[in-house]
Subunit: 347 residues, 2 copies
């Protein structure tokens, strides 16, 4: 047809209704008490022209975008969609929307999104990744826009943090294994830079220490927080022969990779080796055997992050002190853990 039809503006509506733009704006915002007649004319014009106020123009004038930025480590990890969904719900309920960015394990991409969101003048940011440089953390902490960090703990930067109690969670998982009689265990870690890695391994070690298990009996294996990392760690472990009877993993995806490798090697789970994960993603109950894991309150954290941002917004600057909130985790016992095998596995 014609050129790309320009959407109608408030001026078009005003003209058609025979009033000023100020009146149109007021009628639509429901402020002032317009005469029923005026209001009617405005609404009719809005209807006729299929008018939709431009959020862009409004944002410029109001100096608010009604948008929160949300950066996650990797949207492909099912852990995040659940969190994102909950955050989006909470935001939508109060008229905000979420601008999403997935860092995809790449610090440059994280920075890209940080910049993007700053340029877009989001009203607040949720940073749910630890793939962020120290420099960026400081920039965030100094930023005039409210920031909430989820599941990461930037050291020595005063900033609001909402995180699962990773230390206590993995402590519980270790106790569970120890209670089942496991003494020689392996732990598959995340890659460096993922801040949840440290508290989790520490919780695990602490529980072992408390049970009198020598640190040397705990094998720490490198991983990458992905399926491949879990798989490879187990392949290597078995290749060199091992007597561990349990494997704890940084997260569920790693654990599922581990399960896969154990199955390929015909090691029975949990009869020969028990496996526990962390996160409680949907797939944890899909796999065979279903995965014992430490559940994070994903949705709850997403919701909390948004609520916190809103609170910071209407408290204004300096209204709310940075604070670290620890959300409890809960052990989900499924099929992948059982009593320690009597004898060692040699193969």
């Amino acid at each position: 047809m014609s050129e790309r039809a320009a959407p109608s503006t408030i001026r078009d509506v005003a003209k058609r209704a025979g009033v000023s733009t100020a009146t149109v704006s007021r009628v639509l915002a429901g402020i002032g008490n317009p005469k029923a007649e005026t209001a009617g004319a405005v609404m009719a014009a809005v209807e006729a022209l299929d008018y939709r106020p431009s959020a862009v123009a409004r944002s410029l004038r109001m100096r608010r975008t009604n948008t929160f930025g949300l950066i996650v480590t990797d949207i492909q990890n099912p852990f995040f969609p659940e969190m994102v969904g909950a955050a989006d719900d909470a935001a939508r309920k109060v008229g905000y929307s979420i601008l999403l960015g997935s860092a995809a394990f790449d610090e440059h991409r994280a920075v890209h999104y940080l910049d993007l969101m700053a340029d877009r003048r989001v009203d607040g940011m949720i940073v749910a990744t630890s793939q962020v440089s120290d420099e960026s953390w400081h920039w965030l902490a100094d930023s005039p826009v409210p920031v909430v960090v989820v599941n990461a703990e930037p050291a020595s930067v005063p900033i609001t943090v909402i995180t699962s109690d990773n230390r206590a969670g993995m402590h519980t998982a270790a106790e569970h294994l120890i209670g089942l009689g496991h003494r020689r265990m392996a732990y598959i870690r995340a890659a460096g830079g993922i801040t949840a890695d440290l508290p989790r391994i520490e919780g695990f070690r602490a529980a072992c220490r408390d049970a009198g298990i020598p640190a040397a009996d705990i094998l720490e294996l490198p991983g990458d927080a992905l399926f491949e990392g879990g798989e490879k760690a187990v392949v290597d472990l078995l290749a060199q022969g091992t007597d561990v009877t349990a494997i704890a993993c940084h997260n569920d995806i790693t654990a599922i990779g581990a399960l896969r490798a154990l199955r390929s090697a015909h090691v029975r789970v949990p009869q020969e080796i028990s496996v526990v994960g962390c996160d409680d993603i949907a797939a944890a109950s899909w796999v065979v055997p279903s995965l014992t894991t430490v559940a994070q309150q994903k949705a709850e954290m997403g919701r909390m992050a948004v609520e916190r941002l809103l609170a910071m917004l209407d408290a204004g600057e300096g209204g709310i002190e940075p604070e670290t909130i620890r959300v409890p985790m809960a052990l989900q016992i499924r099929e992948s853990t059982g009593p320690a095998a009597a004898g060692d596995i040699k193969r």
Copy 2:
């Protein structure tokens, strides 16, 4: 500290550099040939003030937001993050970003996002869901902004569509099963309203017809495109006793639900019953037995959608005719399918 510090504006920069805002704008955009001295002063001021141009103001003036809206059926289905990731990559490369909305199987939410994106004046929209009313499809088709529909086929609306060749894909899956000797089969469908449902079941039926299998031998079961639907369908199927030797499912999540129910009932897969899914999500190769499935080119489709939008944008209105592009699917044979059992299952 003070009030929420307002970010510095182009005027602040101009003042500090001792030039006009026009010059600042030109220097930053790299147009005109500013004297080296002027350019230097501008850059210095930008640096000193930590100036970032407001994308909001720019969008208003340019009447372009450099943003594409993307609506998916359900971000929790791993199928979508892969597509979204690819779309985001493609968009970022050319300076665009993606505003994401998950309809979460709710038509009202889909409409909400449609409105939101229209208000935000996105430069184009990707609609990767069929949870959209006829009215909305027409609205989209008439919309002045470019729209690409992914994996849905609004009937009788002239609009650009990129979709997997669902019919051919499921036809192939059926042939695979038939080739393995299966004759009595079940098919777990999606809920009504999911447009991929129809071509898939049709492809399945067609392959059976071609093989001379009477339609009555194909059991069509209701599902919901979710884990629960697959699980329930199989539970019901087994409860009433059945002689099927293979189950095809609308998608992988459904198939994984079916696997779970079969396992609970101690039916061996594939020895007693074969299962195939559709999508090829990551979890398809995680489950046990790993899932034979028909793979969609998720990333490719996300990329294509963005490219198409860009093409529509610089072709201007009417430059590109609506067209339906079918992306081929590929059978991924894994462990969940095998030769048909000799005898029926009675339990």
